[in-house]
């Protein structure tokens, strides 16, 4: 098997803060993505999922610091690349789409010229050729009347169309990895269904690996092959989509799934996870979930758990789950 598209090992991302020290927001994250695979990174606000994505793109805002840890993307060590080389990696090897397409597009430039610019930054092609390619891309991502829309400004497009423009731009250079950070969160559900369908089609057609960052387990179920759940800066459980959604082992994953009001279940009381997600400055010692965990034991408060392999393809970080799984 060839090298994975993306390998992240022991990634730490931190900001100055706390008591003159550093505030760690991503704390020892391991990830691997194979060619053409869709991995979902799931968690609630502040768990570090977006910061993990920004770290991979090396777009962590100052004065944040990425490292220690290693990020290998298409065989290259991202963290040691010179800035100019990193710039060419972004776009051609890895591209990113965001939750709010309005803030990712330049409001005073037509959407067509923004895609043309992106293509011409990376490839020596004429404006005419780049424009033709952009029109084709617009058609491919389902923008109605694509050649006319090249000259539209972002405010003239709906949220769904803007996200289609972002997807077109992200895929214009055929990256091997697409990072999608809450790509449908700002969209209405009928628009979301259309964008999910488009992403599924494109992924199948182009074989692009996708790292999907989201808080929405429904979206995860629609798109991903594997799921990693994050809590308080760390991954707590990772498995194939079916295993994680049908037989989660970690108490946090279990609580998360039970707290979702679903269309299929009427009436029965929602399970709550007690308390609130702790801020990065208040992460507890030992297992980070120990302050809210319904099955917490003494050692959880002092000893960081795992990783434990519950089964091939299913790992997690929980003392209690590990004992029950006999691993």
């Amino acid at each position: 098997m060839s090298e994975p598209v993306l390998t992240v090992e022991g990634l730490v991302t931190s900001f100055p803060g706390g008591d003159g020290g550093r505030l760690t927001v991503v704390d020892g994250v391991d990830l691997a993505l194979e060619e053409g695979e869709v991995l979902a990174l799931v968690g609630e606000s502040g768990c570090g999922k977006s910061m993990t994505a920004f770290s991979i793109m090396r777009l962590v805002p100052k004065p944040g610091r990425i490292g220690p840890g290693s990020i290998r993307l298409c065989g290259r060590d991202v963290l040691s690349l010179p800035v100019t080389e990193m710039r060419s990696v972004r776009g051609s090897d890895v591209a990113m789409i965001f939750q709010e397409p309005m803030t990712s597009l330049n409001p005073v430039q037509t959407v067509g010229s923004q895609v043309v610019e992106a293509i011409r930054l990376h490839e020596r092609v004429s404006v005419g050729d780049a424009r033709r390619r952009t029109a084709e891309l617009f058609e491919r991502v389902g923008i109605p009347d694509p050649s006319a829309r090249l000259d539209a400004y972002p405010h003239e497009l709906s949220g769904g169309l803007k996200q289609r423009v972002m997807i077109a731009m992200a895929l214009s250079l055929r990256p091997r990895l697409l990072i999608a950070d809450e790509p449908t969160t700002a969209l209405d559900v009928t628009i979301q269904a259309q964008i999910l369908e488009l992403m599924r089609e494109l992924q199948r057609e182009l074989g692009t690996a996708i790292l999907l960052i989201t808080h929405d387990l429904g979206v995860v179920n629609e798109l991903s092959d594997r799921i990693a759940v994050m809590y308080a800066g760390r991954i707590v459980e990772e498995a194939t989509r079916k295993t994680l959604l049908s037989a989660p082992r970690h108490p946090y994953t279990q609580g998360l799934l039970r707290s979702i009001p679903s269309l299929a279940r009427a009436g029965e009381r929602l399970a709550e996870i007690e308390g609130v997600v702790p801020a990065a400055s208040e992460w507890p010692a030992g297992c980070r979930f120990s302050t809210r965990c319904p099955v917490v034991e003494d050692r959880c408060r002092s000893e960081s758990p795992g990783p434990f392999a519950f089964a091939p393809d299913h790992r997690g970080f929980c003392h209690v789950a590990a004992r029950e799984a006999g691993s």
Partner: protein, 328 residues
């Protein structure tokens, strides 16, 4: 018993243009809405962004001025009252918004924010008595009463929403309009707030008008559902029936588009395609015809009637008796 009945509600916003701000047109945000909330029950008003659901809620509180229609509450038409006579009803109808940070004064201590309404309505005879009541309310929404002299920024998002709920409860309302009250919260926190709202309803016999885009939340909380599209209600019915046998094509499409967390079902289907048209220029005929998967000629010309169903209504030619004229 009906607590609130809205009939033919219209709230339009002017589009102004030019130097003299001449009215060039109208955004028909709410264009003929009927709905009913029973005492102690929850009506969910669902729809996508821009459908007018928030404006319905705000119009009921007269935070927007309706242009037409009646808002019956306790035998009185709130829409016909002069603003000066609304005061007593402000106590009966409260609202909880999506963003608790924006609806709490950052410079006001939690105790004062909650007691403000009580003072306005002369509830409690002394400051000490009101402070006692604040403590009870905070306990009721599962916050520590010892924190009542703190400021809103010292609380998390979920805790702030609890404060807003306590504030709404402080004047003993009969109806609470919840406008996307849990949409900004993480799912584990949302579950806490939804359970709290349900307990409070049972205990205090509150009516809720629950405005939301989240159909999972609707299924969990609502007794009845009204589905809104471009300023109009397209379907109303019992929650169970709406989810198991939706009648209107828009309701069907909306439900089909919701992703499920069941790993055996990967099913979110885009049966309703394209974008919502602008409410400034709603399509002729049925507002939904530009996106409807079962559209036929008549829908483009004529506005469909509101067809009565056993448990509600549907605004579609294909509902009820007219089926013969539909596409075959």
């Amino acid at each position: 018993m009906t607590l609130l009945r809205v009939e033919g509600l219209r709230t339009w916003f002017p589009i102004r243009e030019g130097l003299f701000q001449r009215v060039a047109g109208w955004v028909r945000a709410v264009d003929g809405v009927d709905l009913e909330v029973a005492a102690g029950q929850t009506l969910a008003l669902v729809g996508e962004s821009g459908c007018g659901k928030t404006t319905v809620g705000r119009s009921i509180l007269r935070l927007e001025e309706p242009r037409e229609g009646r808002i019956w509450f306790d035998g009185v038409d709130l829409a016909a009252l002069p603003k000066s006579q609304l005061q007593p009803y402000r106590r009966d109808v409260q609202i909880v918004f999506q963003d608790p940070m924006a609806s709490l004064d950052p410079r006001m201590r939690v105790r004062d924010a909650i007691a403000e309404g009580m003072e306005a309505f002369g509830i409690g005879t002394s400051q000490a008595e009101r402070t006692d009541r604040v403590a009870h309310l905070l306990e009721r929404v599962q916050l520590d009463p010892r924190q009542m002299s703190r400021y809103p920024h010292e609380f998390s998002g979920g805790q702030r929403q609890r404060i807003c709920i306590a504030r709404a409860l402080s004047v003993e309302p009969k109806l609470i309009v919840c406008d996307e009250a849990t949409s900004a919260l993480d799912v584990s926190i949302q579950a806490q707030i939804l359970n709290l709202l349900r307990d409070l309803q049972e205990e205090l016999d509150l009516g809720y008008l629950f405005i939301t885009h989240d159909l999972g939340v609707v299924r969990y909380l609502a007794d009845r559902v009204s589905v809104m599209y471009l300023g109009q209600i397209v379907e109303t019915g019992d929650t169970e029936r709406i989810f198991t046998a939706p009648e209107h094509p828009y309701t069907k499409g909306l439900l089909a588009a919701v992703p499920s967390v069941d790993p055996e079902r990967r099913s979110a289907a885009a049966t309703v395609i394209g974008d919502v048209p602008s409410p400034a220029h709603p399509p002729a005929g049925c507002h939904f015809h530009t996106r409807c998967p079962v559209v036929f000629d008549r829908c483009r010309r004529e506005s469909p009637p509101v067809v009565a169903l056993d448990d509600g209504s549907s605004r579609c030619f294909l509902s009820g008796a007219d089926v013969a004229e539909g596409p075959v």
